[in-house]
């Protein structure tokens, strides 16, 4: 129960040649096809959008400090929550883990030199930038007040804000997701190293495979949906326009057909990160590997048939509502399979509370709260009370911030030594993780109560009796902001001054930990041959754990 055995032995040196110093100059970065460099380009860009989205969130929370809304006008308030949602969802949460960590790690984890289509990978980053530029243009020229959901006919006919460039930007950005998903799927199918069978794939790769399925099947639907809304706005065609007999509810169906699975785009990769962190810091093979892998696919598949639970109050037929309510409950099963397997992995493990593990444990708790409150909302009767209240806001922030961002930060800390070759200051990082956890709960837990009491979401004003809880939430948000700034500072600092990490500082079992930190441009000196099972701490002597957990004798092939 102590972290002492995991401290890195000193005296390690950075490898002489690695992907960061292989070539120099701005051109070598902007025209790179190295998946690791593209991951870093994505890291910078998604962080930029995270701070834009965070800025809007801060303004929202400051505005809600007092009832009556003195900081901004109601119209500006509408724009703030819309732009917060658009920046965070489309330009931070969706690309964050897949395009940064997935991009960096998937080829290394499966023993490949690069993704299947390196140029397509670079293209996807440029597509993201072009989409992002359109959206920033929309923010800068009048903003956007439709809500991130772009419901018609507000978005297609009535809104006076800069909807058109935003819709174009998100449409373009969709192709970035599609290309990333396509690349991952093909890579996992065709680029695995000898011996890397499907059931030896790290769960991080399984999670990204499931995410990629959603990328390629869901994203084209949001693309066409927003395109139709855009054509309606620009050229007065009518697909959802009631004046022509079109049905705005059809827009909602098509929108949520993507945007519900998009929630799983955000959470599945985070689950993949947690599935790597938990066995590493419990120093045990993960419990129920097959089930966790299958549950990722299960979540991706079932996630496609629950969308209308966002629309219980649109007057859809009771029968369809009952069916969607039931299907929504069904998603809880694969999600719970994961949570139970993670906790079973912890059971009798030698748990070390290093920073990634703090994020991992935080994730399990917060995701469980977020998931269970999702079941409240899936109940048809209860949803009538809770629909469009702060309860919903709190629920999905527990999944997206408490889940996805905790997973993202946990993953960034976990693989930071691999990405940069250096360790971050452990003590400071633990403090930051705890500050984040406290700040997060203080921000969003009061919102469950506010929602239950009846405070509607997306209103710029509220009755005075809700003030205490709103003040708590705003206070939490400022702590949360500090929690985000700290890693920004010390991670940047550690890139130059951090202790050299060595190949495998934790130690962990993945293939990525057998190569240099930071890795070569080609990832490995020679193509690895995998002849061990996944997460096998017991039978690999380099971890020094032989016989400490299991009494089974080591198999003949295990000593690599």
């Amino acid at each position: 129960m102590s972290s002492a055995p995991l401290t890195t032995p000193g005296g390690e040196k950075l490898p002489r040649e690695h992907y960061l110093n292989a070539t120099y100059g701005i051109r070598s970065w902007l025209l790179t096809t190295d998946h690791k460099r593209i991951a870093l380009l994505y890291l910078i860009s998604v962080t930029f959008f995270f701070f834009i989205g965070g800025l809007f969130a801060s303004l929202i929370r400051i505005h809600l400090l007092t009832p009556g809304g003195y900081l901004v006008t109601p119209e500006t308030y509408n724009k703030l929550f819309t732009m917060h949602g658009v920046a965070m969802i489309f330009f931070f949460l969706i690309p964050s883990i897949p395009a940064v960590l997935g991009n960096f790690l998937i080829p290394i984890m499966i023993g490949a030199k690069d993704l299947a289509f390196p140029k397509v990978n670079l293209l996807s980053w440029y597509v993201y930038l072009v989409g992002g530029a359109f959206v920033l243009y929309s923010f800068a020229t009048g903003g956007l007040d439709t809500g991130w959901t772009f419901y018609t006919p507000l978005s297609s006919i009535y809104s006076n804000s800069a909807v058109t460039p935003a819709v174009i930007g998100i449409f373009i950005n969709g192709f970035s997701s599609i290309l990333t998903g396509l690349n991952f799927i093909v890579t996992v199918h065709t680029m695995r190293a000898p011996g890397m069978t499907w059931l030896r794939l790290p769960l991080f790769v399984w999670a990204h495979y499931a995410t990629s399925i959603i990328f390629i099947l869901g994203t084209p639907v949001i693309a066409i949906t927003l395109l139709l809304a855009g054509l309606e706005r620009m050229f007065h065609l009518g697909f959802f326009n009631p004046a022509y007999g079109g049905d705005p509810i059809l827009f909602q169906h098509m929108f949520w057909f993507y945007s519900h699975p998009a929630v799983y785009i955000m959470i599945l990769p985070a689950m993949g990160v947690i599935s790597e962190i938990i066995p590493t810091f419990a120093r045990k093979p993960i419990f129920g590997y097959d089930f966790i892998a299958a549950s990722s696919i299960g979540i991706a598949v079932i996630g496609f048939i629950v969308w209308a639970h966002h629309m219980f109050l649109t007057g859809q037929s009771t029968y369809s509502a009952v069916a969607f309510s039931f299907l929504t409950f069904l998603v809880a099963i694969p999600s719970a399979v994961k949570v139970f397997n993670w906790t079973s992995t912890l059971y009798k493990g030698s748990i070390a509370y290093d920073t990634p593990m703090l994020y991992g444990l935080g994730f399990i708790g917060l995701f469980t709260i977020g998931g269970l409150t999702g079941l409240f909302l899936a109940c048809l009767g209860l949803d009538i009370h809770l629909h469009d209240t702060y309860f919903v806001v709190a629920h999905f922030h527990y999944i997206m911030v408490g889940g996805a961002i905790m997973g993202y930060l946990g993953g960034i800390h976990f693989w930071w030594p691999k990405i940069t070759g250096r360790l971050y200051p452990e003590f400071l990082a633990r403090i930051a993780a705890i500050v984040l956890f406290i700040g997060f709960n203080l921000t969003f837990f009061p919102q469950f109560i506010l929602g239950y009491l009846g405070m509607p979401r997306r209103y710029h004003d509220y009755p005075p009796e809700y003030q205490v809880l709103n003040v708590m939430s705003t206070a939490g948000a400022s702590i949360l902001a500090l929690g985000y700034l700290l890693p920004m500072i010390y991670l940047t600092w550690s890139m130059r001054y951090g202790k050299v990490a060595g190949k495998n500082p934790w130690p962990a079992t993945g293939l990525e930990w057998t190569t240099d930190s930071p890795p070569l441009t080609e990832n490995f000196h020679e193509t690895p041959v995998v002849d061990w099972e996944v997460y096998d701490f017991e039978h690999r002597p380099e971890f020094g754990l032989k016989g400490s957990i299991s009494k089974k004798p080591a198999p003949a092939h295990g000593d690599d």
Partner: protein, 245 residues
């Protein structure tokens, strides 16, 4: 630049490289199906809701041009398949010829589409302020068709209005979908034409032979996909309400 059939750095063997490229194209086509799927869904729901308006709208399209275009597109798929066949059997000069034929047929299709769009413009069938489903009936002229055709149209609209008083509004929905679906299809044709042009240049340089023909095959897959989309669009938009005789 990479020469013919060179092994890219991330792969171990040429077979792996080819398998990867082909799988990539198939996965891309899956996303394309979902992309068009949204439009087909919108069409199906609205056709179910407004059968009269959609029927009359469909009858106002030019069946001859639509049918001719279908034949042209199927022929272009044939020539594309022949190009792939020539490439895999190593007939280098035939590849170029068949690719040029495919591009030409694609060009004919797009040309006919322009004529059809112009017709709809003249008939005031572009959704918006000037849309009027009975414009031709009210302002008969040679541009609108023969008097016999216009008489049938007038009768149809009259009877339609009895069933669906909002016929003009709902017909706009039909024509929005017509332009949305055929427009998106045409955009895919234009992209396909660009890809063909690149293929023709490469093929003229003798880049494709029995050992290396992945680009021909994969762009062929794309071209066939775009063709299949039209095979669905034609009956849905043009044929579904026609009656023989």
């Amino acid at each position: 630049m990479h020469r013919t059939g060179e092994l890219y750095g991330q792969f171990q063997t040429l077979d792996q490289q080819k398998e990867t490229a082909t799988l990539g194209m198939w996965v891309f086509l899956v996303t394309e199906i979902l992309f068009f799927g949204g439009l087909f869904l919108a069409y199906t729901i609205n056709r179910h809701a407004f059968p009269t308006a959609f029927g009359i709208g469909g009858n106002m399209l030019d069946l001859t041009l639509g049918a001719a275009n279908t034949v042209v597109l199927i022929l272009s798929s044939l020539t594309m398949a022949m190009a792939v066949w020539s490439a895999t059997t190593g007939k280098k000069s035939l590849v170029t010829i068949f690719l040029i034929l495919t591009l030409a047929l694609g060009g004919v299709f797009l040309g006919v589409k322009v004529v059809e769009y112009k017709q709809k413009f003249d008939h005031h069938l572009i959704p918006g302020h000037n849309f009027d489903i009975s414009y031709c009936v009210k302002n008969p002229s040679p541009v609108c068709g023969t008097p016999a055709e216009l008489a049938t149209e007038e009768k149809e609209i009259e009877e339609g209005l009895k069933v669906d008083p909002d016929l003009n509004a709902h017909a706009q929905l039909y024509f929005s979908l017509y332009f949305g679906m055929t427009g998106l299809h045409a955009l895919h044709m234009v992209i396909g034409a660009g890809l063909l042009l690149w293929l023709i240049v490469q093929s003229a340089k003798g880049r494709f032979d029995a050992n290396y023909n992945t680009p021909v095959e994969n762009i062929g897959l794309y071209w066939h996909f775009v063709d299949i989309v039209w095979i669905y669009l034609f009956p849905l938009l043009y044929l579904i309400n026609r009656h023989l005789g």
